[in-house]
């Protein structure tokens, strides 16, 4: 076997190994997202069961949540899902500057959503006196679910910040960018969970 042929085989094996490892990583990451779905689903169904098993909803003394600000804040998060999707698309097509721009926009929108949630918490706790422990099922459900989701958004923002640093350091290449794919999948997941939470807390 010539040196050139040997070199070709080594590269071919490395590429094949990368594809196999990537496939396993993808499966593992999807299993993680499914397990996270189950976690949210258990809390969501518990909330819906409790909501429909008692007297009217919301409980006496608690006002219905105002949808106007929540709709605006939701659009901020959904917009970040769109920018993240285009960040990945631009990376795939080798448009690095556009990729970084969309990725940074995603981080800014994610932080904006967290700021909006903090604003809403502030209003509910100090303005309406709705608290996690002192407002019965409503307060416990609302703050647990939205808090858990907010924590996921925070983790996502940290993850995307790491992606920015890794991308700037040249960790990813045109053919090897699973970290960016995983980040996009995670961010879409966070968006989708919010579609459900927005619907059950503000729309029904």
């Amino acid at each position: 076997m010539s040196v050139a042929t040997l070199g070709h085989d080594v590269h071919g094996d490395a590429d094949q190994l990368y594809l196999e490892v990537r496939e396993l990583r993808l499966q593992g990451f999807l299993l993680f997202l499914i397990s996270d779905c189950v976690l949210f689903a258990s809390f969501i169904f518990a909330y819906l069961y409790l909501r429909n098993s008692g007297q009217g909803w919301p409980p006496p003394g608690i006002h219905r949540l105002d949808v106007a600000f929540a709709a605006w804040n939701s659009v901020v998060l959904f917009g970040s899902g769109a920018t993240m999707h285009y960040a990945l698309e631009n990376y795939k097509h080798g448009k690095w500057m556009r990729y970084m721009g969309f990725l940074l926009a995603t981080i800014v929108l994610g932080v904006g959503f967290l700021g909006g949630q903090a604003y809403e918490y502030n209003h509910l706790i100090f303005g309406e006196h709705v608290t996690w422990g002192g407002s019965g099922i409503f307060g416990a459900s609302f703050f647990t679910l939205t808090g858990m989701h907010g924590f996921h958004v925070f983790v996502g923002v940290c993850y995307l910040t790491v992606l920015v640093l890794q991308s700037a350091a040249g960790v990813y290449t045109r053919g090897k960018y699973f970290g960016i794919t995983a980040g996009t999948l995670y961010w879409h997941f966070v968006d989708v969970i919010w579609v459900v939470l927005f619907s059950i807390f503000y729309l029904i």
Binding site: L30, L65, V67, A68, W72, V75, Y86, D191, V192, L203
Partner: protein
Amino acid sequence: MNPVIIERLGAVIGGIVVGIVAFYALYKDWNATGVENQVFKLMLVLLGIGAILALLAGLNVIGFTPPAKGV
């Protein structure tokens, strides 16, 4: 201007933009194959539905806004 109107306007405009972007991305990726692309397509559909819900909430078709300014 009333803050509620600004919030609703933002929700309507943002909902339209995000909805169009999500469904256009779905249209472009429609023929893509592979597990991750199927997941992306599913999530883009749900993202588009979320944008429509936010749009309808902004238009006051669904949801609730108290008479006095709340959050």
